[in-house]
Symmetry: C2
Subunit: 159 residues, 2 copies
């Protein structure tokens, strides 16, 4: 029941190739860890001081990268037969934080918060296209594990 890595969650370091014109940032390849097929790619913009939580997919795997700004992710494992049931995992991603791809398997609850003072951009390459009824949402304050919300809110306030 301790905090830490959740079984099946992957964190894959990605390359940034920077020059005076800007940069090329890797995101996903068809031969990369966590790639199970391509269903949909979309962006989630999150404004300073804001959270998006909580969400759980029944079948879709998320592959999340933050190419702009900083985002704190909190994941909670409530899977009945998981070796890490009850675990919370907190990860901050961004070019100036950790530039890695976060792979979230189905059935993990997750939320995220903007860290910093500018809008952040989350990009998701999911293995299945959006389908009504495939995911569940809960308002941020109504999630069963109070530690998860505390962890998420912590991202909103710089130390």
């Amino acid at each position: 029941m301790s905090d830490g890595a959740i079984h099946g969650v992957l964190l894959t370091p990605l390359r940034q190739i920077v020059d005076e014109r800007g940069a090329v940032l890797h995101m996903m390849r068809s031969d990369a860890p966590g790639f199970l097929g391509f269903g949909e790619c979309y962006f989630s913009v999150i404004n300073p001081g804001m959270m998006k939580a909580w969400k759980r997919h029944s079948r879709q795997t998320q592959n999340l990268v933050v190419p702009v700004g900083g985002v704190r992710f909190v994941l909670c494992d409530t899977r009945e037969h998981s070796a890490t049931r009850g675990a919370l995992q907190t990860i901050e991603l961004g070019r100036d934080l950790v530039f890695s791809r976060l792979t979230i398997p189905p059935l993990i609850w997750y939320g995220f918060a903007c860290v910093g003072t500018t809008p952040a951009l989350v990009t998701n390459c999911a293995d299945l296209a959006h389908e009504a009824g495939e995911s569940e949402t809960l308002p941020d304050g109504s999630f069963g594990d109070a530690r998860a919300l505390i962890e998420l809110q912590r991202g909103l306030k710089p130390p």
Copy 2:
């Protein structure tokens, strides 16, 4: 030989779903126009005042979306048997400009420039993963069609 749409280039309008927390921005789906398979997704950051030009792929199709900032794309059709051989196509993309996906088939020369005063982000969902030798590059000033460079530079200076 006139300017205008190049045969095989697609511009597909995308949805932006905005709320007080931020937005969800569509990018690509496996059942969308221009989707030929998934090889790689990556980001290109381009700083104000900068251009990235010129590039041509032999087999890879580009699917480009600009979720942050504004970018001017210039495309040039030099394909020997194309109905639009010699045509230039200029498109400015961004959330505040035109929020569409630009699909560039193989063998079209293209370049892009940052418009505006903040860095822009181009996202590419390409049908094939990067492969050495699959693309050609030319320095911006050495491209055969002088109109193309003029069109690109025009993006750097607001009217």
